[in-house]
Amino acid sequence: MTTLSDEILLAYADDELPPAERAAVERRLAYDAEARDRLQAFTTTGQWLARAYDDTLRAPPPPALVEAIRAHAGGAGQAAGAPVPRPRWRLPGWLLAGPAFGGLGVAAGVALMVVLQPPSVEGGREATLLDATLETAASGETRAAEIAGERFEITPVGTVRVAGGGICREFTEIRDAGEAVTHGIACRAEAGDWRQVARIDLSAGSGEAPGFALASGDPQAVFDALLDSLGTSEILTPDAERALLEAGWH
């Protein structure tokens, strides 16, 4: 044996080798440090992957999923060819639960860290500007206001429809001529009432904005993932967005 191939080391790590081969590999490993290093990658990743999705394994399956399966088990024939209904459990309950926002953290692991912002209590007028902007401005249109001596500019940058039919919009808020820049997502709860789901403070070193921390990473990727986690079913085209705006989001 000149060298242990990656495949042999993998099979050894995964306990897929017959006993005789296993013993031969062990004899070789005893004096081959380079092979031991390569083996380490297979052993470690094997242990990681075996546990990486444990939370999903342990979570009870969504009742809607079980119901959908039971429903089809009964009348499998009659439903043949019918479109598969989209599951409706995608929108997390907390999204529409208002005060329950508080304290919820969202993390994308080590590299990306966003902390969800509970709706601000003191930022009443700022919230009004945000509500008005998201309710009436097309993506790309900026609305501005002077609030307590500070200039606020809010620009919606995109609109998505989430599972269940709700509308969420991504926006950028510039405060005090670029001193503070935040990027956020808000979802429409009812007419003129947009609830912020997430904000990220993009102005480096700003200790002003409470509740946000972007440890590192790419904010756009975080927002893409967040929109995805809301169960985005459709990114609205400018035309579709305009039609909805004119119809009061109905």
Binding site: E16, R51, L65, I69, R86, G109
Partner: protein, 171 residues
């Protein structure tokens, strides 16, 4: 009733089907869609399963084909752009940053080529024997092994190299 038995077995396998689908799709919403579509296909095509053979393997094959179809239909996934986001529930067991590492592993999974991810989902997440996984994917065992080997080496690099490697991947 024979029907009832099949349905109940299917439902008892849901946790594993969801884990498998999560590892393929990278997020739970898509995973649950794939599981639902796959289970409905399985119920309609239950005659295609041979009693006495592994029901889990048969279902993994259906889920994996369902996901491939979805990818083709929606062209949803530009390779290497998916980022998983999850609720960060404080956990007593996370004293060593274990959850963070596993989250990093899940993100790295999404940066692998589809072929490699499928192989890893079957072999390393679900723990199927190589022969069983190769059969599901319709490839020789040797091909499966080299996919798994390359995928595990790449995964190790991605996890160890975060966040630098993450940026490279997004180009």
């Amino acid at each position: 009733m024979a029907d009832l038995g099949f349905e109940d077995e299917l439902i008892s396998l849901l946790p594993r089907l969801r884990r498998f689908a999560h590892s393929l799709t990278g997020n739970l919403a898509d995973a649950d869609d794939v599981v639902q579509m796959g289970c409905i296909k399985a119920l309609r095509g239950r005659d295609g399963w041979t009693p006495g053979t592994r029901l889990d393997s048969w279902l993994f094959r259906i889920l994996q084909n369902t996901w491939r179809d979805e990818l083709r239909r929606k062209k949803v996934r530009p390779e290497g752009t998916a980022v998983e986001l999850e609720l960060d529930i404080p956990d007593e067991t996370d004293r060593l940053g274990d959850r963070a590492t596993l989250a990093s592993v899940r993100r790295a999974m999404q940066r692998l080529p589809e072929e490699q991810r499928e192989a890893l989902s079957l072999v390393s997440v679900e723990g199927l024997p190589y022969a069983e996984a190769a059969d599901i994917l319709g490839v020789p065992v040797g091909t499966l092994m080299s996919r798994v080997a390359r995928a595990r080496q790449r995964l190790r690099q991605l996890v160890d190299g975060e966040p630098v490697a993450v940026k490279d991947e997004r180009r």
